[in-house]
């Protein structure tokens, strides 16, 4: 069950290692993230989830192992290099500017220009299309400042921003951590639609309810190692918790 079904994956980590001084943060992490699916990365605090996503986002370069993008080895020299490939990470703080409106946030750093001036109409049209594709329908006006949005809506804007930047892999760090029930549902629906649109989604989450609701695949980390990965049908909440807390499971469900 820990074997990788490799070849079709958009992003693959092969034996990736990372240490900080004497602390081995990642040891031999092998992980596949296929396009069009939601891969949940689960694990307890300190299991190495953050280090893994920061390595994929290009913030930290691995000490060993390989990162394959579309089957080819790549070197992620920095966040820019990762973004150039189409890897977009949405951290918990979402990196939105509260004083700017939805359109302005979605295009921040990539503004459309006409005669060297901001082309608001073109940006607004494009932003509207993207939000419509993602069926983000709750915002009354895409010209309202992000400060006036709910947590779920802010998350939606961050996702739409990634989609509009033509992200092929969207990494979401605890997207539902600060949200209520209805907002969580809204974000999970959005994640499903994102994957249905062909994007690879990597969801980092503590919340097993969310994971089982939205994920196609689950990967569990324990003390810097990736202990198991596979389709969600191969897990039950009990085995997932066992993997997360002990790194192994005695009563693993047989592969379907």
């Amino acid at each position: 069950m820990t074997t990788t079904e490799g070849n079709g994956a958009l992003l693959s980590l092969r034996g990736v290692k990372k240490h900080f001084g004497p602390v081995q943060a990642l040891s031999d992490v092998t992980l596949d993230i296929p396009a069009g699916q939601v891969t949940a990365l689960a694990g307890d605090n300190g299991a190495g989830k953050s280090v893994t996503i920061k390595t994929i986002a290009g913030l930290w370069s691995p000490d060993g192992g390989e990162i394959l993008w579309d089957g080819k080895p790549v070197h992620l020299s920095g966040p820019r290099a990762a973004e150039a490939l189409g890897i977009k990470t949405i951290y918990q703080d979402l990196a939105l500017c509260d004083n700017l409106d939805i359109v302005q946030n979605m295009f921040l750093g990539h503004e459309h220009l006409a005669h060297r001036l901001l082309d608001e109409d073109s940006m607004e049209t494009k932003a509207r299309e993207t939000l419509k594709e993602l069926r983000v329908t709750t915002v009354r006006s895409i010209r309202q400042p992000v400060a006036s949005l709910s947590g779920g809506q802010r998350q939606s804007v961050a996702v739409a921003k990634a989609v509009m930047a033509n992200a092929k892999l969207v990494i979401m760090d605890e997207p539902t951590a600060a949200l209520g029930v209805s907002q969580t549902r809204m974000v999970l629906e959005l994640i499903k639609r994102l994957a249905a649109g062909g994007v690879a989604v990597m969801l980092v989450s503590h919340n097993l309810n969310d994971v089982f609701e939205v994920a196609d695949r689950i990967a569990v980390m324990y003390l810097g190692r990736l202990v198991v990965q596979g389709p969600v049908s191969e897990f039950t909440p009990q085995t997932a918790v066992e993997y997360m807390t002990t790194g192994t499971a005695k009563h693993a469900v047989q592969a379907a």
Partner: protein
């Protein structure tokens, strides 16, 4: 037909499955399709602390009404024009400070920056150098812009607090100004005269002819109306939400009335002794600065980045914005604008002397911006706020002077207005954040 309208009625929308839960997350803002709906939405925004302008305009009107009741000479055209001329320097200094305040930085040096700029301009156009007036202004602007560049570089590259860097700048620029005055043997007692034939002199002390005032107004109004209508039409044509036509027409009508009243007041004779009429040149000068800066902030990428960096520098950095460059740019613009304020100062005085009180001018600069509604903690504020704030300061000083109040009391009164404006803002803000 706009997409918002379909979105507003989720039953017809593309994703009814989600609507009930998502409706709970609906933002309170209302989109208007008619004038009355728009006014209602505007009122809600004001109550919610979203629209900064209306309370300030109402405050200005209240202060004007108070002074008019106290002194019937307040709203005479002579006093009004005088007041606009006084406001000019506060407005321009406020605009200078707005650039840095938007980044939640502060520039305490712009008072003496104005001093340095004014001195350089005065020296350049006076004998023995005798440069043409425009070259003198250009050099003055460049010098103070360069001083801003130094300050901005210290703030960003060394990570020093702008409060300290520009406090040092305030003192250093005073010294620079005195050095220039000492080096020039013609600057008797640290004072240098501006020739009455120079446009620098005429900026504040001379007026447009009444006919020219009307022509300029007419051209501006036609341009304004044309741009607004065209923008509204093109947005409709692209299927984007545009403000209701009634709102556009009402705005144009209000601007027209204000413009006509303004030029009318300026074009009446305002002197009991000789005939003095026409719009002082400094007024279009200030308006052009405010318009150009507003355009810079709202229509260019750099302007957009100033707001982004001011609100969330980390998000801006991750979006690929060169945060340091934006901060340095703001300090350069503060310097450039301070030099223009210096130009107005020396034109008002018809000479330039080292006794300019740069310390007080910088307080007026911050006060003008903040009274007008610009936040001290970055990301919120517009150039028009400095215009309104500067006008309020001028009204308070002018009105109190008419009432024969001592200067000491004038200062206290302005301080009260400043604190009241910030307090009002804080109260509205608290209410909107606990909503």
């Amino acid at each position: 037909m706009t997409t918002e309208q379909t979105e507003a009625t989720p039953d017809e929308g593309p994703a009814p499955a989600l609507s009930e839960t998502e409706l709970a997350a609906m933002a309170p803002e209302v989109l208007a399709n008619s004038l009355s709906e728009y006014l209602l939405a505007l009122w809600r925004r004001v109550k919610g602390g979203e629209s900064g302008m209306l309370p300030i305009i109402l405050g200005l009107v209240a202060i004007v009404v108070f002074f008019q009741i106290e002194r019937s000479s307040f709203l005479t055209n002579g006093n009004l024009v005088n007041l606009f001329e006084e406001a000019a320097i506060y407005v321009v200094l406020g605009a200078a400070e707005t650039f840095v305040l938007l980044l939640s930085e502060i520039d305490l040096s712009i008072g003496y920056g104005a001093g340095v700029g004014a001195f350089v301009i005065a020296e350049m156009i006076a004998p023995p150098i005798n440069f043409p007036w425009w070259l003198g202004i250009l050099i003055g602007v460049a010098v103070v812009g360069f001083l801003g560049l130094i300050q901005g570089t210290l703030v960003t590259r060394l990570g020093l607090p702008s409060f300290i860097v520009t406090l040092g700048g305030q003192l250093a620029f005073l010294g620079v100004m005195e050095l220039i005055a000492n080096a020039d043997p013609t600057a008797v007692g640290g004072s240098i005269q501006i020739s009455p034939s120079s446009p620098v002199y005429k900026l504040v002390l001379d007026n447009m002819s009444p006919a020219l005032g009307w022509i300029v107004l007419a051209v501006c109004l036609v341009l304004f109306a044309g741009l607004r209508l065209n923008r509204s039409r093109s947005r409709r044509a692209r299927g984007l939400h545009a403000e209701p036509l009634g709102v556009t027409l009402l705005t144009i009508a209000m601007v027209t009335v204000a413009g006509v009243l303004f030029v009318y007041v300026c074009n009446n004779n305002r002197s009991p002794l000789a005939v003095v009429r026409g719009v002082p040149w400094v007024i279009p000068f200030v308006l052009v600065i405010i318009l150009a800066y507003s355009w810079l902030l709202s229509r260019t990428r750099t302007g957009r980045y100033i707001y982004a960096v001011g609100n969330n520098p980390e998000a801006a950095r991750r979006a690929g914005i060169k945060v340091d460059r934006i901060i340095i740019f703001a300090f350069v613009m503060a310097g450039v604008t301070a030099a223009l304020a210096g130009l107005i100062y020396e034109s008002t005085q018809s000479s330039m002397a080292t006794d300019i009180d740069g310390g007080q001018l910088v307080l007026f600069a911050v006060a003008a911006a903040v009274i007008g509604g610009t936040a001290l903690f970055g990301g919120r504020g517009r150039m028009v706020n400095a215009l309104l704030g500067g006008l309020i300061i001028a009204v308070v000083y002018d009105g109190l002077a008419l009432m024969g109040v001592a200067v000491a009391v004038e200062n206290i009164a302005t301080a009260i207005v400043l604190i009241a404006a910030v307090a009002l803002d804080a109260v509205v803000r608290r209410r909107s954040s606990t909503r």
